[in-house]
Symmetry: C2
Subunit: 513 residues, 2 copies
């Protein structure tokens, strides 16, 4: 008779060992981006490839199938949301997904990704979309094949791709929420552009010493709750967050002496990601109960701390003295708040403000679905891109370099990835609203620098659950409602009512009801 | 029929893959000592242990025995000093050594090492040798067993241990050279202590900013030839050097604002190690032709740059302007030189000056041989230690904490390791003398900041050969003579003749001939 407990322990040990190797590979990547000597790259690539190969072998070993088979009749795994049940269920899902992809396709995608990124990089520099088009065609075809292999019953090809980043997400549901968001954002943008009040960037473009920015960044990350005993903050050119172990989370930011928001909001954003990693159940590191739920949920944590907290009026009431002390800059809390919430439609997604950012994503989400479905050809893509930018955001790219070529994602095979950014914004605002309802005077707490209650609320309702619930389930359980655009729109209206005198959320909500 | 070339390539690929994993483990170690978050240690230990286990499995896999067997009749491997011949010969040596150690003994040593270091640390803090004695007894017994297993024909038990760090070294030969060195150093020390000229530490103990020390350290490392495109310099509490790949060598130093020599000579020392690693044949990284010859040879490179170059009068003629520019300190080259060559007998090895350092080593070398041979009991060790310090160095430890408990080595099972430090000093001086004879005006070059000719000479005579020759062979080939104490004594006399007015090397050499 099978000793289920022992079999489960063997599975768990195996996954833990896998995490020892995968986290070592993560360190190789972190080090590569924080200070590896210039000529170390070739050998580093070999190291990462070899360790990644080991991880892949461990994740797809036949012993996993045997263990899963032996556990199939274990009653302790019946509850899909218990630690044991979720582990068995999600390891099986991942394992079966891996097995459904032919090795030849995995290799073809890996190879096309390297070539695709190189080709995209050259094409963007040359502002020559046609140079990139064949690589894009190849990648779309490969991703379509992958989606067809991966699709479970009831999933479209695109949803199967989306599922890699946002498990169980439904394209229809996203389209519907995004459409509602789009309508509200376009209205909001009209009001802002028609406002008599305008904000400029003068305060943000002064010279602020890198040392001072480093101190502020560290202070803010520590203040909101990033644990420096279990993490660190470093500098890099493209900020990110990576967990190298259950008690070793690295966040990175960049400093530009003539663009202050880069380091401040970059740090708050990455600290939000990092605090999520730090809040996952440590004992289950590398297993589903100790893993993030989805990229959308991950992004909800970064956007919540960056925008809902970090761009609030109360946050700058709290930290204006620190800014004055560090930089000798005497701006008022209201001036900082207005500057950090300036809105201006622009061409480039990564530089976009909060009012327009999601419009950039919505354009991509619609276009990539059409590309995968074969309803849009790459011949027509740049033209359609430019039209959509003009109609949705009100700006027309003067070149493909600042248009369809601006993002690396598609060249790297990342179809289904973009919507997770907007999901993060939506979920972050919805969680924040629920936390506010539960905690009471959250604005007052922020003004007083008391962030622990909010973090505790997120720990309890999001972090503690790891991957045991889908994003949809987490949102429903934590907020009592399904995903909706309303909390994000309300929070933006509230902030912009202070800056641009737009209608406050209560009024807007009445107007649309 | 065996295709020897293909078999050799399989062996080479396997060792290369092994180096991919072992160097990833090295990065885990480097990171642990440069900034890992405080609570990351437990998981980090698991990562290192797991990767080290993988490396061990790869190094002892049965396929290696098969390949070696198939290569045993390959004529291309006949030359023991060719790339192929040395690879086959040394992989076989390492493999057979590994196989001679029973797994139970390896595990017992690993476990005793962890406990021994913990016990030593506590005993040293409590200044209580008796608390450490049982762990020391256990470690001596285990190391004796290991030495007995490892000993080849003609090797003593102690030599088998020494062979792990200094392949093919003979204890008798070392004893004889060390005895000659000891006699000369004692005479030299007498002369220095009787000299009318004395030097104090005032100049070194002023406050020098850490930023300035960082700049000087980086400048000096770059000036002597450490390649920052293939390496980097960081800060840590216990400086070291580690190669994370053929083009990624990390050196580390520490900064103390009230002890300038720590960073300067620490950096020159580690840069010497690093330039050796950077000079090893890159194509053979992780294989014998791309590996250092011995710890003694490694140390010869660090000591040569630290002492023969870095403590020379000419070096400070060259860099005094940089010191003035960086720190605003107006000391003359002669004052810097004298301060950096101050001699004063002391209790602690790691703080010792060059005239007395090797006496500390000689005491340890004699005692550890007696311990392994069973001729000295751990009961008597502290008393004998103190007597030897008094008779050899002229200082008597007032406590075991500053006496027999000062070094971690024995608690970590490192018997046969200490002599490599003095070997490094001897070989460094002997190589330097040979380079000077070959290059001509080496002192003039140093005074002008021209270090490339010396580095090129070392590249050609030492670095390029990797592990293809033993330390003895390298010294003989590079200098035309066997290992001798004379070059080190001569170089010390030359430097101290400037500082303490002792007899110059020519006079001394006549006197002893």
């Amino acid at each position: 008779m099978t000793n289920h407990g022992e079999v489960f322990q063997a599975l768990r040990d195996h996954l833990h060992k896998t995490s020892l190797v995968s986290s070592a590979a993560e360190l190789l990547g972190w080090d590569e981006r924080t200070g590896m000597p210039p000529e170390g790259g070739e050998f580093r690539a070999e190291q990462v490839a070899y360790l990644s190969g080991l991880v892949h072998d461990m994740q797809t070993g036949p012993e996993i199938a045997t263990w899963l088979d032996q556990l199939s009749d274990w009653s302790e795994a019946d509850d899909p949301h218990s630690n044991i049940g979720a582990t068995v269920r999600l390891v099986r899902k991942d394992y079966e997904k891996q097995k459904r992809l032919p090795k030849s396709l995995v290799e073809a995608i890996a190879s096309a990704t390297v070539r695709g990124q190189g080709c995209w990089d050259a094409a963007r520099k040359a502002d020559d979309y046609r140079q990139f088009q064949p690589a894009l065609d190849e990648m779309i075809s490969l991703q379509r094949q992958a989606g067809e292999c991966l699709a479970e019953e009831g999933q479209t090809t695109y949803e199967a791709l989306l599922d890699q980043y946002e498990p169980d997400a439904k394209a229809d549901q996203l389209s519907s929420v995004f459409a509602s968001l789009r309508g509200e954002l376009v209205k909001l943008l009209d009001e802002i552009q028609g406002s008599a009040r305008q904000v400029d960037e003068t305060l943000l473009k002064k010279q602020y010493s890198v040392d001072g920015q480093w101190q502020i960044s560290r202070n803010l990350a520590e203040a909101i709750g990033f644990d420096f005993n279990r993490g660190r903050l470093d500098e890099t050119s493209h900020p990110f967050c990576t967990a190298l172990g259950p008690s070793d989370c690295r966040i990175l930011t960049r400093y530009d002496s003539s663009w202050l928001p880069g380091s401040i909001f970059g740090t708050l954003h990455e600290a939000g990601h990092g605090m999520y990693e730090q809040g996952l159940p440590q004992d289950w590191y590398g297993l589903p109960p100790g893993t993030y739920a989805s990229l959308g949920i991950h992004e909800s944590q970064s956007r919540l701390w960056e925008n809902l907290v970090g761009r609030s009026a109360e946050f700058w009431q709290c930290f204006t003295p620190l800014m004055q002390e560090t930089f000798g800059e005497k701006a008022t809390p209201e001036q900082w708040h207005a500057s950090f919430n300036r809105v201006t439609p622009s061409l480039i997604r990564v530089e976009a403000d909060e009012a327009t950012y999601n419009l950039h994503i919505i354009v991509r989400f619609e276009l990539e679905q059409a590309l995968i479905a074969g309803e849009l050809s790459t011949d027509d893509l740049p033209g359609v891109w430019n039209e959509r930018y003009e109609s949705v955001i009100g700006v027309r790219p003067p070149s493909d370099a600042d248009g369809v070529l601006q993002d690396v994602h598609w060249s790297a095979g990342l179809f289904g990835y973009f919507p997770t950014y907007t999901l993060g914004n939506l979920i972050g605002a919805q969680l924040y609203a629920a936390a506010e309802e539960s905690l009471g005077d959250l604005s007052g707490m922020i003004a007083r620098g008391e962030f622990q209650p909010l973090l505790d609320w997120l720990r309890k309702h999001v972090h503690a659950h790891g991957r045991k619930f889908s994003a949809d389930e987490l949102v429903q359980n934590a907020t009592g409602a399904p995903l909706s655009a309303e909390p994000l729109v309300a929070s933006l209206r509230e902030r912009y009512s202070l800056v641009y005198d737009v209608k406050s959320p209560a009024v807007s909500s009445n107007a649309t009801s």
